[in-house]
Point group: C2
Chain length 560, copies 2
């Protein structure tokens, strides 16, 4: 019964990849729409969206999950596996994933392109420089930073209050020493001294804009609207005021084009854009999703963290801006994680525990219920681990059926697409049986507190939101500036439906405290922070970098 699966990198290095030009041709991408980056990666020109304008869209399927635990869920593995499985049963499916940041590669070992026999390849390239999107974002972000300090240095005509610069520099690196810095030291020639900080590139609003833009010109408009500072009079200063939104857009002219790679079974994979899932919305780009809908009968995509964060933002932010209408949602669960939601410690996961599984099911039930509030058909995919017992699997399937939700096992990690055939059939049946009546959960025109309260009550299952005095002041300011009629981007712990990471399962009777409110006016959402969000990771005592090597043949070791 137990499957012997080699390590991710061993599997990836043995993959039989198709030349990406061949794959593109098979899926209807024309030669002049393809820009090669080596033999197995390509960017796709946005012109294709115009050419295929009249073609009917495929079915949009979101893969989301229960609240994550240290036991792992396998959302990417499910997304990749489901795409492979759909193709196996004769459906044309494309997948769309977020692209990984380089920083974490050197921190704690672990890739970001699926796992086992459900991976996206060429895995090493995707996890390293890939097609340069991250570097373009870093450069565009930091050009804007340089423009701010340069403007102040040359007379500060815009009257920028250096104490109220909200735009930070970024680097695609885990580097704690850069979290809080002082810049401009060294005398007159180096400008004015001020406090600043670096975030990791994926935390940049430039990344969020990339992912929510619907065209190059839409991107330029969004860059122009980004608020970088406030004047002494409290007026927002934008990238457009500094005159560099055009140059930033030029820097992003290739980054805006979706990247095409493939899964281990040659399913087309669009890997494009990867914003933070707390201070941003945590989904791949709208353009990649739209492209995938034109290329396939099904487009399978995912969103960061559990459904309370990832799916909520996908459905309230991304689908709204992208004019997207999902056909169904897959909620990924693992028996291990549900047992943790039921009170089991990580060290005790190997033993069968039906009681804990029964109790932990509440988290899954709540996430399923939430998806239905958006008017969407939903199914559960159980990502099978070798430690799961027959009795546990049986119980989970029984509970799903009792709850009235379709369920299927996902064995793609160990068996590739073949291990997801049942899951694929379940999904196809669900979509054919149930019509999507998707609608966002709240009206954008509602006040910030109204929108936040809707999310807290409907999605998290809490009593309501409490706003700190600081947050109240910030809300008032956004209302005065007319910047409050935007969707909400909650920055909350991913580990609980509440804002307390210790409250697993499906807690109730809690309040959510919003400590801080910021606007990402270019991306087009209001970030509500319920705690401190780390936007620049550090390296561990022995970083993964110290085990990475490359030999004279270019063979990499120690990476994943």
């Amino acid at each position: 019964m137990e499957v012997k699966v080699p390590s991710d990198i061993e599997i990836a290095q043995q993959a039989k990849m198709k030349p990406i030009a061949d794959l593109a041709m098979e899926w209807g991408i024309e030669d002049e729409e393809l820009e090669m980056y080596g033999k197995y990666k390509a960017k796709i020109s946005l012109d294709i969206l115009n050419r295929l304008k009249e073609k009917e869209d495929g079915k949009l399927v979101l893969v989301t999950a229960i609240s994550p635990t240290p036991a792992g869920e396998g959302k990417s593995t499910t997304t990749v596996g489901l795409g492979q499985a759909l193709n196996k049963i004769g459906k044309k499916a494309v997948i769309a994933l977020r692209e990984p940041s380089l920083g974490p590669v050197f921190g704690v070992k672990g890739g970001a392109a699926g796992g086992g026999y459900a991976q996206v390849v060429p895995m090493e390239d995707i996890n390293l420089h890939f097609t340069g999107d991250m570097h373009a974002i870093t450069t565009a972000n930091n050009l804007l930073s340089a423009a701010i300090d340069n403007h102040i240095n040359h007379g500060n005509q815009l009257n920028i209050d250096a104490r109220q610069i909200v735009w930070k520099r970024v680097l695609d690196m885990n580097d704690r020493a850069l979290r809080d810095v002082v810049v401009g030291l060294g005398g007159k020639a180096n400008g004015f001294v001020r406090q600043d900080g670096f975030m990791i590139t994926v935390a940049s609003e430039v990344m969020a804009v990339l992912c929510l833009s619907t065209s190059l010109m839409d991107m330029k408009e969004r860059f122009g609207r980004m608020v970088v500072a406030y004047t002494y009079e409290g007026k927002p200063v934008t990238a457009k005021d500094l005159g560099v939104h055009g140059a930033m857009t030029m820097l992003m002219k290739d980054a805006i084009k979706p990247n095409l790679v493939q899964t281990l079974e040659n399913t087309p994979a669009l890997v494009h854009g990867g914003p933070f899932a707390n201070i941003a919305h945590g989904c791949n780009s709208i353009l990649a999703t739209r492209l995938g809908l034109k290329l396939g009968e099904y487009l399978i995509t995912e969103a960061g963290f559990g459904a309370d964060l990832g799916a909520e933002k996908f459905l309230n932010i991304k689908c709204r801006y992208g004019g997207l209408k999902p056909a169904a949602v897959v909620v990924v669960a693992t028996i291990r994680a549900l047992k943790m939601h039921g009170g089991v410690k990580k060290t005790d996961l190997a033993s069968e525990n039906l009681q804990a599984l029964d109790k932990g099911f509440a988290n899954l039930a709540k996430q399923v219920e939430n998806i239905r509030k958006f008017g969407l058909p939903v199914m559960v995919a159980v990502n099978k681990f070798v430690s799961d017992t027959e009795a546990e699997i049986e119980l989970l399937i029984k509970k799903c059926k009792e709850y009235g939700v379709d369920v299927a096992l996902n064995e793609c990690w160990g068996r590739g697409g073949e291990g997801g055939v049942d899951m694929a059939h379940t999904l196809v049946n669900l979509i054919e049986r149930e019509e999507s009546s998707y609608k966002p959960l709240y009206d954008m025109e509602a006040s910030i507190p109204e929108k936040v309260n809707t999310i807290v009550r409907e999605i998290y299952g809490g009593n309501g939101a409490v706003f700190s005095p600081k947050a109240q002041k910030e809300i008032k300011k956004l209302e005065e500036l007319g910047l409050d009629k935007l969707p909400i981007c909650m920055a909350k712990t991913q580990y609980s439906l509440s804002d307390n990471p210790e409250l697993l399962g499906a807690p109730s009777g809690f309040d959510i405290t919003v400590k801080e409110v910021r606007v990402s006016a270019g991306a087009g959402f209001i970030v509500c922070l319920t705690g401190d969000i780390m936007t620049m990771p550090g390296l561990p005592k022995v970083p993964a970098a110290n085990n990475i090597d490359i030999d004279e043949n270019g063979k990499i070791t120690g990476l994943f």
Copy 2:
């Protein structure tokens, strides 16, 4: 007589480029050795050097110049034009250039890929992200920085003295605010507070290593040797001590491969690596040069600044490490610049001034003399400007002939390769007539003061070098560490043969003051600084970025 030439970007945007795969095939590059980056850029696998090991090398020709003035010389334009002209007269010529930094693109308008009808294309791509080499260097450099602070944060087992960290962070951006910074603020979680600074990426030793490496493993060795800090006992701490030289090499696995593009006339152009010409050696990569020698009968390349800096380093550092033997050197001069060397102000250059030209010739004569000290055949290329008068041209040619050096006009800027036919013939004749007896100017085993004095006396025409007390102390330390038996990399003003930028022409009777001595142990040279070298440029009051824009068709305006 006057030629009407459109702007560089207009010419570049109208170029008839060959698909780079076709060009590569014509020049004997095999399909599996080519990695496409779009249709007009490619990287070439280093495997080709092994395949062509037995093939005879082409002739290596260096293009260098008189001491630069604000009037401009046109070294890149001459390099590109000469390559085009050689192909026009039936010789197979390849060119090799440095790749430009992104930072300056947003500062003062001006590209770095030749000009007029002697340009390398696709010019916009080359000046923007190109194939990602700069970004790879930035990342590798900053991984090492993060490793230093991370090591100290986690207990500082190597006993690094935080006051003696010599490794800086980098960004490919003109950003004066980052020259002097304090990092690690914000409390215990963010590490130890210390002073730091950012340089522009091209100033990184990682760039110099890229350009001096002869293989991937040689690069890894060199990264490992780089000195990043000293311990409290004064012992050097290297990248290898920190254990990240393998990961850095992995990050550079694609950057090490030469980039292939083309000129406006489809001459192959290897544009690869671009280190600073003061604190580093200012030449494109050894690997690109070696590759070009295998592909063409002639490989035309250039070095930064005037011959006293660029050619001297090319001949004493790059050729030594690369096992290269140049066949000839072309010294570029313009009548405008020679008149400035003769005392004319920039505003008065439009008027004929034979007396100033006659006087300014001394700088050209000295640079020619210097080349001969290396045992090399040399010719002068006069880069023609529309303002040059017949009498001026006649005088300059007469003076060259009197001096005993071959001379030809370069009219490639206005006429492409056709305008360099005479120059190409002159070069071919020179090489056929005169045998190169190239040898470096000094013995690496000599002491640092001996080596510096040789350069000052033989090349600059000065009395000798004076070492500040600080420099003397540093020399002593390098001698103790056994790091003094390396070539010298002079960091001196490019505007004068002396260390005083005001002394134009061919000054004599001066001393050179070495204020500071540093080792770049990975690159493999000792940097002798004669003044403050700016390693992080700033932006002007109205940066070029503010005029750059891109429209809905992706057409860029305001860039060059």
